[in-house]
C-alpha cells in the first residue's frame, strides 16, 4: 500500500552550500520507513506541473522523516526555498530496501548524494547488532559528511582519491560478511568488481530518472539478470536496492 500524504515541513536546514535537509512529520510514513526506501515528493505550492523528485529516506526520528537533498537543478532548488510550516506532497515510502541482518560485520560505501540512505541503513544495522565500517567519498569538501573514513577527489579533506580505493585497501586486512553501497554508477561498478574479487556479497542502491515511482511506467529501467535471462527491472518498484551480482553492469 503506497501512501499519498500532505506532510508538514517541520524544519529545513542548510548543511553547506550544496546540501540541505527537509524534515517532515507523518506518523504512518515514519512507521513504514525502512533503510533504502524513498519517497516521491513535490512542494505542495508548486503550480507548474513538474515530476516529483525521488528522495531517499535519510533518517527517521519518532514521527519525523528527514530527507537530505543536493541542490542540482530547478527542481531541487524549489525545495530549498520552502519554509517550515509549508506542505510537502509525498508518496511513499516506496521501493524495496536493504536487508538488515543481525550480528554480522558489514562494510558501507557511499559517494556524494549516496550518503543519506546509508546513514539510515547504518543506524538500523547497528540497532540490529551488526558491526559496521563506513567509507564515504566526494568530489570536494562540501560532499563530505561524518562517517568512519572519508575520501575526497580534490584532496581538500580526508584521504585524497576515490572512495573505491579506500574499499580496495581495506578489504585485504579486514573480514566482512556483507557490503552495501550507494552513489554514482562508476563507484557502484568499482565496488562490484572489488567485492566480487573478495567474495563479499554486495547490495547496491541504484539511481535512475523516475516518472511514476510505483512501477507503472517502466521509465527507470535497470538491466539485470533474472533466471539467466537479460531483462529490465524497475528501480522504483523492484529496487532501488539490488544484488550487485544480478546487475548487467556492462550495459550501464
Amino acid at each position: 500500500m503506497n501512501l499519498h500524504k500532505q506532510a508538514v515541513l517541520s524544519s529545513i536546514e542548510n548543511i553547506n552550500q550544496s546540501y540541505f535537509t527537509l524534515t517532515v512529520e507523518d506518523k504512518e510514513v515514519a512507521e513504514l520507513s525502512q533503510a533504502g526506501l524513498f519517497c516521491q515528493i513535490r512542494p505542495r505550492s508548486s503550480s507548474f506541473p513538474r515530476l516529483r523528485k525521488p528522495i531517499s529516506i535519510y533518517d527517521v526520528d519518532g514521527d519525523h522523516i528527514r530527507f537530505m537533498i543536493k541542490r542540482i537543478g530547478a527542481g531541487t532548488q524549489g525545495f530549498a526555498q520552502l519554509r517550515s510550516g509549508d506542505a510537502i506532497d509525498l508518496i511513499g515510502p516506496l521501493g524495496k530496501g536493504f536487508t538488515v541482518p543481525a550480528g554480522r560485520r558489514i562494510i558501507l560505501i557511499s559517494g556524494g548524494i549516496g550518503y543519506p540512505p546509508l546513514f539510515f541503513l547504518n543506524k538500523r544495522l547497528k540497532d540490529a547488532g551488526n558491526e559496521t565500517f563506513w567509507l564515504h567519498g566526494g568530489n570536494c569538501s562540501d560532499d563530505l559528511f561524518p562517517c568512519a573514513e572519508l575520501w575526497c577527489r580534490d584532496g581538500s579533506s580526508g584521504n585524497a582519491g576515490l572512495v573505491s580505493e579506500g574499499l580496495a585497501k581495506r578489504l585485504p586486512d579486514h573480514q566482512y560478511d556483507l557490503a552495501y553501497a550507494c552513489g554514482p554508477i562508476p563507484l557502484l561498478k568499482a565496488c562490484h568488481q572489488i567485492c566480487q574479487q573478495a567474495g563479499i556479497p554486495l547490495q547496491v542502491s541504484m539511481e535512475a530518472y523516475m516518472a511514476c515511482g510505483i512501477g507503472v511506467c517502466h521509465g527507470c529501467a535497470v538491466p539485470v539478470w533474472e533466471r539467466g535471462e537479460p531483462v529490465y527491472r524497475n528501480v522504483c518498484s523492484d529496487g532501488p536496492v539490488f544484488d550487485a551480482a544480478l546487475i548487467r553492469w556492462e550495459e550501464l
Partner: protein, 301 residues
C-alpha cells in the same frame, strides 16, 4: 454525474475521464477508487513479450516529459493469463485493451485472440508509438496502411474499435478519414510527439535511443489543434489526450471536439489527477447548468 455522461462509439461512459495507455496501472488503486474512471486503458500489448529500450529512458524537459520505454510488456499470452484476470477482478468499468503489432496479420491475430476473452469493451489499436522500430508508427503515418489495417480489423469485432493516431504527420485529418471510412468506431489522439534532449555540457543525448516520445504540458496546444482538425474532418467520437492536467484543460478539448479525454503524464505528478479532473468537471457543468454534449466541438472564434 448525468451531465457529463458521454459515448465513445459503441460504449456508453458514465463520465468523460479515462487514462492514457502506458501511463496507468492497477497500482493507482492505492490512491483512488479506479471504478470512478470512465474506462481503463491498458498498456500496449504485443504478441511476443518486449524487453523495452535500453536506459536512460526518461528525461523531463522544460515543459513536459521525454520517454523511450519501447512498449515493454509481458506479451499477449501473459497478458491474458495473468494481467487481464486481475483487471477483471478489480474493475467494473469498461476495459479497453491497447495493442500493437508489426504487420496487418499480426494485428488481426492479436485481436482474434482477445475476442475470445470476456469483459473487454474495446480495443485501442496503437499505430503511433515513436519508440519502436517496426511496430506501430510505420502504420500510423500512412493513410493507405491505416485504411488497410482498419479494413482488416473492423469486421472481426463488435467491440469498440479505437484507432490511436500520431501527431507526427502532415495531415492528421487524412489519416482519421482513412480509419473512419474503413470501420473504426472512434479515434484516440494524440500519441507522443517525437522529441529529443541533449546535454549541452558534453553533447550526449539524455535518452539512450536518441529520439523519444514527448508528452505532458508542452504538447497540449499541439494536441488541441490535432483534435480540432480531426473533429472537423470526421464524425467519429474522439478520445483526446496530450498534456491534460486539469479539468480546465479537459474543457478546452471538449470545445475542440473531443467526446472524452484521457489523463497521461499528469498521473505521474499527481496520482489523483484523473479524479480531480472528474470532480472539477462535475462542478463546472453543475454550476453552468450545461451537459457535456452541448459543448463538444463548440469552439467559437
Amino acid at each position: 454525474m448525468r451531465r457529463i455522461a458521454t459515448r465513445l462509439g459503441r460504449i456508453a461512459l458514465s463520465n468523460p475521464v479515462s487514462v492514457a495507455s502506458g501511463t496507468f496501472g492497477l497500482e493507482y488503486a492505492d490512491f483512488f477508487d479506479l471504478n470512478r474512471l470512465a474506462a481503463f486503458v491498458t498498456k500496449t500489448i504485443t504478441l511476443e513479450p518486449k524487453q523495452g529500450n535500453p536506459p536512460p529512458r526518461l528525461y523531463e524537459t522544460e515543459a513536459g516529459l521525454l520517454n523511450s520505454i519501447g512498449l515493454q510488456n509481458p506479451g499477449l499470452d501473459a497478458f491474458i493469463a495473468v494481467h487481464l484476470p486481475r483487471l477483471r477482478k478489480q474493475l467494473s468499468i469498461p476495459i479497453i485493451v491497447s495493442f500493437s503489432a508489426s504487420s496487418v496479420r499480426e494485428f488481426a491475430e492479436i485481436l482474434k485472440r482477445l475476442e475470445d476473452e470476456p469483459d473487454i469493451s474495446g480495443y485501442e489499436v496503437n499505430i503511433s508509438c515513436p519508440n519502436v522500430a517496426r511496430e506501430g508508427i510505420t502504420f500510423g503515418v500512412d493513410p493507405f496502411a491505416v485504411a488497410e489495417l482498419t479494413h482488416k480489423l473492423s469486421p472481426l469485432t463488435q467491440r469498440e474499435l479505437i484507432i490511436k493516431l500520431t501527431p507526427n504527420v502532415t495531415d492528421i485529418a487524412a489519416i482519421a478519414q482513412a480509419a473512419e471510412d474503413n470501420g473504426a468506431t472512434s479515434l484516440a489522439l494524440i500519441n507522443t510527439l517525437t522529441g529529443m534532449a541533449i546535454d549541452y555540457r558534453n553533447g550526449r543525448s539524455f535518452i539512450k535511443r536518441g529520439i523519444a516520445g514527448y508528452s505532458g504540458i508542452g504538447i497540449k496546444p499541439v494536441a488541441l489543434a490535432c483534435v480540432y482538425k480531426t473533429a472537423q474532418a470526421v464524425r467519429l467520437p474522439i478520445l483526446a489526450m496530450g498534456g491534460i492536467h486539469t479539468w480546465q484543460d479537459a474543457l478546452e478539448f471538449f470545445y475542440a471536439g473531443a467526446s472524452a479525454i484521457a489523463i497521461g503524464t499528469a498521473s505521474f505528478i499527481e496520482p489523483d489527477a484523473p479524479i480531480r479532473c472528474l470532480e472539477g468537471l462535475q462542478n463546472w457543468f453543475q454550476q453552468n447548468d450545461l451537459i457535456l454534449p452541448e459543448i463538444i466541438g463548440r469552439v467559437s472564434f
